[in-house]
Amino acid sequence: MSLQPASTEIAARTAAVISTMKDLEGPLLPILHGVQEEFGYVPQEALLVIADALNLSRAEVHGVATFYHDYRKQPAGRHVLKLCQAEACQSMGSDAIAAKVKQALGIGFHETARDNSVTLEPVYCLGLCACAPSAMLDGQVIGRLDDEAIDEIVAEVRR
């Protein structure tokens, strides 16, 4: 079987991630996190390499990777914006905030803007429930979202 050069590279980088973690107890989730950090998503080719290294079937690794909301099948946009849609944020108007953000970015939840600038996702609680409604932009937390904050976020992801 001849591997595509791209696949060879993915395999090599995946193997490097695995080598730092395979001695952990229960290494699969840490490895999947590591792979996602390395590539921005979990490539199909990586699953095969992981399965081999951990002595699991490909189906098992696939089953785990697809169970969790965090692991991406495709790369995200340059930015990832998560809007909290859970109850405490609902009580402070997260629905209306989401509608405004969707309109401003021209995308819905689980979508990436055509220029690849941003991926929009719902999240169910960020632990910022006393500063609702809240959001997370690339790991940066934002509370008490209002029109001004939305404008700033939109400007930031378009930059």
Binding site: L24, E25, G26, P27, L28, L29, P30, L32, H33, L54, G63, V64, F67, Y68, H69, D70, Y71, A86, E87, A88, C89, Q90, S91, M92, V123, Y124, C125, L126, G127, L128, C129, A130, C131, A132, S134, M136, G139, Q140, V141, I142, G143, R144
Partner: protein, 522 residues
């Protein structure tokens, strides 16, 4: 030569404070210090939990600490001009933080240091009573530690309220070559952030509690499973574990004793159901986060099939003070079978939102109206949801319910992880009931039909109700569905989703009546 005395400025690094601009305040402060040539140390403390005052900046003065807040980056220059470093007057001055009513009214046992100390300074931790509990524990027999925790009356703070000491006893009594302590830091419930605050603001207290649990049960390895939505907590916990290892608090000889104990931090992957203990264990093992049937109990066959203590962050973080001050000291707080203190998290549409630690027994009305100060919007309170997405909605008529496990159960509710979401009179309870079903459908692990399929059916039926289609039949169908879910689900995700749904229907029937306006709008 006398050491240089630095002034100390506290600017929280807690993610709630960061979400309100604390990072910008810290940058602006550092810049002002540099420009004015003032030698001062900035400590990134945790939060004291009064989020309506965050970012709350504190300075150490000769008369004690002085607080200012909520501070915006643009206020920093003015604060320096007003001489805030020595407690100068300013419109944001709050005086002694301990005298702020929201803080003064609390009984801080578990959160004694949170917001006060430098979270990753072990010296600071010890200077404020840290490690006193562990020092006592290493000199005790395991069974005596277990007895003390049992006698304190501590019950699991993760939701189910199971007595912590009894769980530990089972693990102690089960012989095995390896045992584990697993800390459940998945904190997925909306309106809860107590675990996050401890991990970011006083991580050593959790490390100390887990280490005591290890010594008490014969476990040598601990895992903290933190949800991925909490990157700041993950970073602080990793740093604290590193510090604790270097200092010999963790490792082959805990505090120089013959006990070995080490901790590893693990990160979840965005699944609410992984907060359920057996699902969490599967996840740690690298499997799909599917719920396991019990028995076997995790205490007998848990992580990798070994005896495992699995406890919530707050349960474990409450252990050091119980070991230090004694079972009776802790037990003297509270009411009925709910002993000790509980960190109540007041969230949503509320004026004074934040974390309020107090003995069990305060009424819901006192919490919402007096401590919380009513809604942030200024409109009347319509409903409060207690206990997260699986908790019931309470109307004002039930505001006399005391905060106690049994009292809430009597009124078809639960205190869960002690989060409260306040809603004003614009809330639509039908919409809230629908969301409860939707959330269950999104997060179901898929093992039971009533949970996986029932929740989706529930959404559809509530949609029909909203559209005014056969309202009586639809209502009966939802009730029926809730019964099936309640009795036919393996875990509380499917089993408790009926709480928010049925409480909304029972207490707010007007929102479920066919409204001509609603039909017209759709």
């Amino acid at each position: 030569m006398s050491p240089t005395i630095y002034m100390t400025i506290y600017i929280p690094g807690d993610s709630g404070a960061l979400a309100l601009g604390a990072e910008k305040v810290a940058k602006a402060t550092a810049k002002e210090l540099a420009e004015r040539g003032i030698a001062a140390k900035i400590v990134r403390n945790g939060s004291r939990g009064a989020y309506f005052l965050e970012p709350m900046v504190e300075v150490e003065t000769t008369e004690g600490r002085r607080a200012y807040g909520p501070v915006k980056a643009a206020d920093v220059k003015g604060l320096f001009d007003a001489g805030f470093l020595t407690g100068g007057q300013h419109r944001l001055a709050l005086g002694d933080p301990e005298d702020i009513p929201f803080i003064a009214k609390q009984t801080r046992l578990t959160f004694a240091r949170c917001g006060i100390t430098d979270p990753v300074s072990l010296e600071d931790y010890e200077a404020h009573g840290g490690l006193d509990g562990l020092r006592k524990a290493v000199a005790m027999a395991p069974l005596d530690i277990v007895k003390q925790v049992t006698e304190s009356g501590l019950r699991g703070r993760g939701g189910a309220g199971f007595p912590t000491g009894i769980k530990w006893k089972t693990v102690l009594d089960t012989t095995a070559d390896r045992k584990y302590i697993v800390c459940n830091a998945d904190e997925g419930d909306s309106a809860t952030f107590a675990d996050r605050m401890i991990m970011e603001g006083d991580p050593f207290v959790l490390i100390e509690g887990m280490t005591i649990a290890g010594i008490a049960t014969g476990a040598t390895k601990g895992f903290v499973y933190i949800r991925s939505e909490y990157p700041h907590a993950v970073a602080t916990m990793n740093k604290a574990v590193e510090v604790a290892r270097k200092a010999g608090v963790l490792g082959a000889t805990v505090l120089g004793s013959p006990n070995a104990f080490d901790i590893e931090i693990r990160v979840g992957a965005g699944a609410y159901v992984c907060g359920e203990e057996t699902s969490l264990l599967n996840s740690l093992e690298g499997k799909r986060g599917v719920v396991r049937a019990k028995p076997p109990l995790p205490a007998i066959q848990g992580l990798f099939g070994k005896p495992t203590v699995i406890n919530n962050v707050i349960s474990l973080a409450s252990v050091p003070i119980i070991m230090d001050k004694g079972a009776v000291f802790y037990k003297d707080f509270g009411m009925g079978r709910s002993r000790g203190t509980i960190p109540i998290q007041i969230a949503g549409n509320v004026k004074h939102g934040g974390l309020f630690e107090i003995a069990f027994g305060l009424s819901l009305g006192e919490i919402v109206d007096e401590i919380g100060g009513g809604t942030r919007s200024g409109r009347p309170v319509k409903a409060v949801q207690v206990g997260g997405p699986l908790g019931a909605y309470f109307p004002r008529e039930l505001f006399d319910t005391p905060f106690d496990y049994e009292e809430f159960a009597k009124r078809d509710g639960l205190i869960g992880h002690a989060g409260i979401t306040v809603f004003d009179d614009t809330a639509d309870m039908l919409k809230q009931a629908r969301f409860a079903m939707e959330f269950c459908a999104i997060e179901s692990c898929g093992k039971c039909t009533p949970c996986r399929i029932g929740s989706t059916r529930g959404m559809e039926v509530i949609d029909r109700l909203a559209a005014g289609i056969e309202p009586e039949k639809s209502l009966a169908l939802v009730t029926d569905l809730c019964n099936t879910m309640k009795f036919g689900s393996l875990c509380a995700l499917g089993g408790f989703t009926p709480y928010p749904v049925m409480s909304a229907i029972t207490h707010f029937p007007e929102d479920f009546k066919p409204a001509p306006a609603r039909v017209a709008a759709e």
